[in-house]
């Protein structure tokens, strides 16, 4: 069986885009350096040239704005922020410029830039090298937000993001880079058609994960099915904005139980939004327990290893919560 990894999936997406789309280019800090972006961009500059894979000054705002400007002028560029924390220096360009561009000009102009940021946390990196913040971006109309979990999606959805006619925040997770799976061929999918994907089938509970938490959920669901016969309808969200929850609502109507697991903070987070949106539309009589969410504690990421253990979501937490909800 030919296998691939999440990081290799991203690299393959780049190779595909650089080969097939002359209007695609990448700019970002550290793109000519082997360690900034893991194995996701190895040797692209050597293969496709430093004019299309551009390392740049330490200027998140200007380089992100330049990406927006090039996208307005007919290109399909991507800015890479090797840590999402640094992308916050560029928020005006993403939230106030690109996301509004089409609407405020009445559809006469668009800014289809892709803003890739890498989530990279743990390892005692502390509060300012550990954020995810996807819920922030998902709050913004006009901005699409994509978070792949599988290697196949990391590749296919990156291609979809770049080819989308709208601005997209694409967040990939360094904790998934080594994740291995069976290799499939590239599929070109319109981002508008991408729905949450159901990765496990079951009647006892509906579980929703996002990016890295989908890995934890999948493992927890597998464990519970094998050890206790608890079967979960498990969904990986994939696109956080615009949210398309119809299939998950159907699932909750069937199972009567809902758990959302998200590696971001609780307050005003995507988990809150998913639960609220589903509760507005689900048949309340079908509910067998209150919906529940597992998120990070509402605190910045700690540095000490001991506190990190406490801070980040673990598979066992998900297992315990599912048991609690199902019993």
């Amino acid at each position: 069986m030919k296998t691939t990894t999440y990081a290799a999936g991203i690299l393959e997406a780049y190779e595909y885009l650089l080969t097939n789309h002359q209007d695609f280019f990448i700019i970002g800090q550290g793109l000519w350096s082997p360690w900034y972006v893991g194995a996701t961009m190895t040797d692209l500059d050597k293969k496709f040239g430093k004019d299309r894979v551009i390392d740049c000054p330490v200027s998140e705002l200007a380089t992100t704005g330049a990406t927006v400007g090039a996208s307005i002028c007919g290109y399909r560029p991507m800015i890479v922020h090797p840590r999402v924390d640094f992308m916050l220096l560029a928020v005006d360009q993403i939230v106030t410029q690109a996301a509004k561009w089409r609407h405020m000009f009445g559809g006469n102009s668009t800014a289809p830039a892709t803003f890739r940021a890498i989530i990279n946390r743990g390892g005692e990196q502390g509060a300012q090298h550990s954020q995810s913040l996807h819920s922030w971006f998902a709050h913004i109309p006009g901005l699409k937000v994509v978070m792949p979990y599988t290697a196949k999606d990391a590749r296919n959805l990156m291609i979809s993001s770049v080819l989308s006619n709208d601005p997209v925040v694409f967040l990939d997770d360094r904790w998934l880079y080594e994740k291995e799976e069976e290799y499939t061929e590239i599929e070109i999918i319109d981002l508008n058609d991408v729905l949450p994907q159901k990765l496990r089938e079951g009647d006892n509970i509906t579980v929703v994960g996002v990016s890295y938490t989908s890995l934890l959920c999948e493992k927890a669901c597998e464990y519970l099915e094998n050890t206790q016969g608890i079967k979960s309808d498990f969904f990986d969200l994939r696109v956080l904005n615009p949210l398309k929850l119809e299939e998950i609502i159907k699932s909750v109507n069937k199972t009567g139980r809902l758990l959302v697991v998200d590696g971001d903070w609780s307050s005003c987070g995507i988990a809150s939004e998913i639960i609220a949106s589903i509760m507005e539309k689900v048949n309340l009589d079908s509910l067998k327990s209150s919906p529940k969410r597992i998120t990070l504690p509402d605190a910045p990421a700690p540095t000490s290893k001991a506190l990190e253990q406490l801070y980040y979501i673990k598979e066992e937490q998900i297992v315990e919560t599912i048991i609690e909800l199902v019993k």
Partner: protein, 342 residues
């Protein structure tokens, strides 16, 4: 910190006729027509901000017409200009489409942004005006990226970034100039230095009233010019832009000028306590339109009555465009949602 001595900000100077030698008659008349059109269009807007028919914030640039006109005359349609909150002149200099602007300011579907933008979000792709936004400094990096795209296109196009002296206090100017310099990007940075940001004079905001120091710091060629001399700016840009097109280099133009109205709306801001009465009166005598018109009459290129006819024709067009815009329709309700995503 001592101010840099700069006679360009002295309204008692540069009041006389301007040097029009070496420029074709048709070009000179075109310059005058465009400036008069912009002036009268903004006067019409001012009138209807006051009457209450215009609700959106209107930042008028009366007194600053020469800069956008000079730039527009060296642009070609495939160039790409980006503006800011005070961009009516940049837009009209390229297309003279007062109906489109009036309809937009009134929130009508016939407006350049189908009524979704108002005065601050105007666009005209076909004529090279790629958009204006009121977040100060925000289009500086966007224009820089447009220049990167132009460089990749290899067709010799350039981008233009219009901003004011206030935008030079935003960090993104430094980032963008650095990037354009190091990456050799053909972007023309046009600082319309009108000495005010909202209600605060540049002397209270910056240690020098010359923003060209930022270009100097980033090894970008620059000029500091009289922004009320349309011909002088045109001559300078014509030669500089040729070199930008062929060598992909950025250029920084600092044009000193003065806005006759206040920061926003029809008043002049003296009413809100900005002490600029004497200065304003002096600057009105440094009128970019009158100086060109006087020169044309003096050199026998136009007679006074031809000048008056031109004024009347433009006024009639503006009156009729305004009336038509008032009658135009608003966007359909579904536009609210259908324009969020492609």
């Amino acid at each position: 910190m001592k101010q840099e001595v700069n006679e360009l900000i002295d309204p008692l100077k540069f009041r006389d006729r301007i040097d029009i030698k070496g420029i074709e008659k048709s070009m000179l008349v075109d310059m005058l027509r465009k400036m008069v059109l912009i002036r009268k269009a903004e006067e019409k807007l001012s009138e209807h901000v006051e009457s209450g028919k215009i609700k959106c914030p209107c930042h008028l640039g009366i007194g600053q017409e020469a800069i956008g006109v000079a730039v527009s005359l060296v642009m070609r349609k495939s160039d790409r200009a980006f503006g800011a909150h005070r961009s009516h002149s940049h837009f009209l200099a390229l297309n003279e489409n007062t109906y489109s602007l009036f309809a937009e300011v009134l929130g009508k579907y016939d407006g350049c942004s189908h009524g979704m933008g108002g005065s601050m979000h105007i666009v005209d792709n076909d004529n090279g005006f790629k958009g204006s936004v009121p977040i100060v400094g925000a289009t500086i990096p966007i224009a820089t990226g447009a220049a990167l795209a132009a460089k990749m296109d290899k067709a010799g196009d350039i981008s233009i970034s219009y901003f004011g002296d206030g935008a030079c206090e935003e960090g993104v100017l430094h980032e963008s100039l650095n990037m354009a310099s190091i990456m050799n990007l053909p972007v023309l940075y046009v600082c319309e230095n009108n000495l005010f940001a909202s209600h605060l004079h540049i002397d209270l905001r910056q240690p020098s009233n010359s923003t060209s120091r930022f270009a100097r710091a980033h090894h970008i060629n620059y000029s500091t010019v009289d922004g009320n001399d349309v011909v002088g700016m045109y001559k300078l840009l014509k030669s500089e832009i040729e070199s930008m097109r062929s060598s992909n280099t950025p250029y920084y133009l600092e044009a000193y000028t003065y806005r006759w109205k206040g920061h926003v709306g029809h008043r002049d801001d003296i009413d809100v306590g900005v002490k600029r009465g004497a200065q304003l009166d002096a600057w009105k005598k440094r009128d970019p339109i009158k100086r060109l018109a006087d020169s044309l009459i003096h050199e026998g290129i136009l007679t006074e009555s031809e000048c008056q006819n031109l004024n009347n024709e433009i006024q009639n067009k503006i009156n009729s465009d305004w009336e038509k815009a008032e009658l135009a329709s608003f966007p359909q309700n579904e536009f609210l949602i259908t324009q969020v995503y492609s």
